[in-house]
């Protein structure tokens, strides 16, 4: 039994890492611009579909490299056209705006690629279990968690070591002062949004390897991402990372004992965390 729990804990952490990847993108956007991006799942789907289209031409690795970048470009365009008009307003408006965008994206993907699930094939050397000892892992999951670790590390590196990252961090704390100091806040927000959507696109390519690729692929993944952010605490990226891992682990462990509650448990967890710590685990007072 303990063995089973450990295996599921492990797998839960891997899935949690995936949730964290999505949630980090959401969190980046939320922290700097105060925008609740309900269309994040839609961008995830776009990332998956773009990879599906590119794969015959440039192979899996090519698609993995290019699709998130293209998705980020679409995100940047969306930010320019729509999102930037709701800055400074109540977050409710950004929620409704992006909710509308999510509807349009879902319908758009269904219109372009059809309602059918499309076959997305990952290379066979990724798509098998590792060995008999590690039968509880698949090559694909190991690859996925490695990619997530790389992406998260790169993200924190960008935020910590580059000028762009410094500006984003400063902007998260006090955007007005940053603007007064001469930084072009418009471009900063735009690039930040693009960065967040890049992570969504990347998550989309990864998700398509494990799940069926069809227009609603993003909508089942968006709620756990929000829960991860809340559990970890708004305004804190390490919190989001922690939140994602925690809900993944909780879900995995609960599946051993009470499988049908594996989805409900993340909501119970969120409720419990908020009742005890109203700002999430690592969140700061005064943000939202």
């Amino acid at each position: 039994m303990t063995q089973l729990v450990l295996f599921n804990l492990f797998n839960g952490l891997i899935i949690g890492a995936f949730y964290a990847l999505m949630a980090l993108g959401l969190s980046l956007i939320l922290n700097l611009s105060g925008v609740i991006n309900f269309a994040h799942g839609g961008f995830l789907a776009i990332g998956g579909y773009l990879a599906y289209m590119l794969m015959p031409q440039i192979g899996f690795w090519g698609a993995l490299a290019v699709a998130p970048i293209l998705t980020a470009l679409i995100g940047i365009a969306a930010e320019r056209l729509f999102i930037r008009r709701v800055y400074g307003r109540d977050p409710l408006y950004s929620l409704l705006l992006t909710f509308g965008l999510a509807f349009m994206i879902e319908d758009g993907t269904r219109f372009i690629w059809g309602a059918s699930t499309v076959p997305f094939a990952v290379p066979s050397y990724l798509s098998s279990s590792l060995s008999n000892e590690f039968f509880f892992l698949t090559g694909y999951r190991v690859f996925m968690v490695a990619l997530v670790i790389a992406a998260v590390a790169a993200l924190f590196l960008i935020l910590g070591q580059t000028r762009l990252g410094m500006r984003i961090r400063a902007g998260t704390l006090d955007l007005e002062t940053v603007s007064v100091l001469g930084i072009n806040v418009r471009i900063l927000r735009n690039v930040n949004f693009g960065l967040g959507i890049y992570l969504a696109g990347l998550a989309g390519v990864l998700a398509a390897g494990m799940l069926g690729l069809q227009p609603t692929i993003g909508s089942s993944l968006i709620m756990p991402s929000f829960v991860a952010i809340i559990v970890g605490g708004l305004g804190s990226l390490p919190g989001t990372l922690l939140g994602g891992l925690l809900i993944g682990a909780a879900s995995g462990v609960v599946t051993v004992f009470y499988p049908s509650a594996s989805e409900a448990v993340i909501y119970v967890m969120m409720a419990l965390v908020l009742l005890v710590r109203p700002h999430g685990l690592l969140g700061e007072e005064g943000r939202f």
Binding site: L4, F7, N8, N11, G12, I14, I15, E106, D107, R110, G114, A115, S116, T117, V118, P119, F120, A121, V122, S124, S127, S128, S129, F135, F136, T138, G139, Y140, R141, A207, G209, M210, L211, G212, L213, Q214, P215, T216, S220, L221, S251, G252, T255, V256, P259, S260, S262, E263, A264
Partner: protein, 420 residues
């Protein structure tokens, strides 16, 4: 008051005008919806066109549309032209499905109601059509109670009950692959009744159930379930998921290499799922409710090519067949009885045999009188990467008669109450 002629308000107005014009170009004026002739015979299809069941609903619609074109070419119903009114029930919101059903019956005055893929909606619509005394054929909702405890005199069903599916394949699994089974079941009525069906068979044959796990609908990560199944070391791992859940669980099962160590099987499987899987995940033993490649079945090739014309070259699936059968069943009895009266047609549909050009399968399918369930043939076979043709993804090894697989009427819990 200063006049507000700021540049923003002008450009704002222009954008809105543009958007409104674009929108209106797609939609005709609300007051002109009655471009329909008042004396057409109308079918109302209340099926999901958006959400997770969109593909299945759409395929059923295409089957219906083909049937209607064929019927009109042959002179229509009672000499009148036939038309299809389609409403999107959505995939999850039963309130909307019921609303649309009411709209079709009360406002649009359809003569026949068709739908729904979603079992909950099929039940709710059955109750509605019963209240409004309209003949309904359930095209694709599989929960047993539609022709069981929730049956109505005016409701018939084309697709199989879950018990028919499990009974069709259980013996094959037991004889060929082994006695020890492990279930991974989606946690809703469809999954539960499939599992119960298999458990009844296991008991009858003397097999053992090593374990069973319920997975919530829409589960994205099946690793926990697959690991548990592996640890139990069964002969057969039974996966009862449908639709997207089936794509997810099979993709992941293959990534865990389970198909190399155990036999994977289940009950209902659909071509839409196999199409959505990468080729290496097209594995397992399943039951199909209809298949496009059946050598020797009359009229099948015409149907396949007619559907191919409507789908941009894709072969028909069971869903196309469900829609086609449903519409034709109504048309045939209406022309036979020379009436559109729901009670008379319902009585005529009982024991009604589908003619070969509609049946498109062996063994003369007919609607059973006691529960209004169609008794078709079921196809047991294995999924394969592809056969001689790239669209041939299922190898049929056995055809089972529906009457052999179905529960006797007395055991279904159906008690039909006819209007007095």
């Amino acid at each position: 008051m200063k006049s507000s002629k700021s540049p923003h308000s002008t450009s704002r107005r222009q954008i809105i005008k543009g958007a409104a014009a674009a929108g209106l170009a797609q939609i005709a004026s609300p007051f002109v919806w009655s471009a329909r002739a008042a004396d057409n015979v109308k079918f109302g299809l209340d099926n999901p066109l958006t959400g997770v069941y969109a593909e299945l609903g759409k395929n059923e619609q295409i089957g219906c549309e083909l049937a209607i074109a064929e019927i009109n070419a042959k002179g229509g119903i009672l000499g009148r032209q036939v038309e299809l009114l389609v409403e999107d029930s959505t995939s999850a919101d039963t309130g909307t499905a019921v609303q649309k059903g009411r709209k079709l019956i009360e406002r649009d005055k359809v003569d026949f109601l068709l739908g729904n893929v979603n079992s909950a909606m099929a039940i709710a619509l059955g109750d509605l059509s019963n209240e409004l005394k309209t003949l309904q054929i359930v095209t694709g909702g599989h929960t047993d109670s539609v022709t069981g405890t929730d049956c109505h005199w005016n409701v018939f069903r084309v697709c199989n009950t879950t018990r028919m599916e499990t009974n069709a394949v259980a013996k094959t699994l037991f004889d060929k692959y082994g006695k020890k089974w492990y279930f991974i079941t989606p946690d809703y009525a469809f999954g539960h009744t499939l599992q119960q069906g298999f458990e009844a068979s296991l008991k009858e044959f003397g097999g053992t159930e090593l374990g069973a796990d319920l997975s919530p609908l829409g589960t994205t990560d099946y690793s926990a379930y697959l690991i548990k199944a592996q640890a139990a070391n069964p002969d057969v791992i039974i996966l009862l998921q449908a639709g997207d859940d089936a794509v997810n669980v099979l993709k992941q099962a293959v990534q865990f290499g389970l198909d190399k160590k155990f036999h994977i099987a289940g009950a209902q499987q659909e071509l839409e799922v196999l199409n959505g899987l990468p080729p290496n995940a097209r594995i397992g033993t399943w039951v199909f409710e209809w298949y496009w490649k059946q050598p020797g079945v009359p009229h099948l090739d015409e149907f396949v090519s007619a559907i191919r014309k409507r789908t941009g070259g894709k072969v028909p699936t069971a869903r196309h067949w469900f829609g086609h059968v449903a519409v034709w069943s109504c048309a045939l009895v209406a022309n036979q009885e020379k009436t559109l009266d729901a009670v008379k047609l319902a009585k005529a549909l009982e024991n009604f045999k589908l003619p070969p050009e509609v049946a498109l399968m062996p063994n003369d399918p007919f609607y059973r009188a006691g529960d209004h369930q169609l008794m078709p043939s079921l196809y047991v076979g294995e999924a394969m990467e592809h056969g001689a043709e790239p669209e041939d993804l299922f190898h049929v090894s056995q055809v089972v008669k529906g009457t052999d697989a179905a529960l006797p009427v007395a055991d279904t819990g159906c008690h039909l109450k006819w209007p007095t």
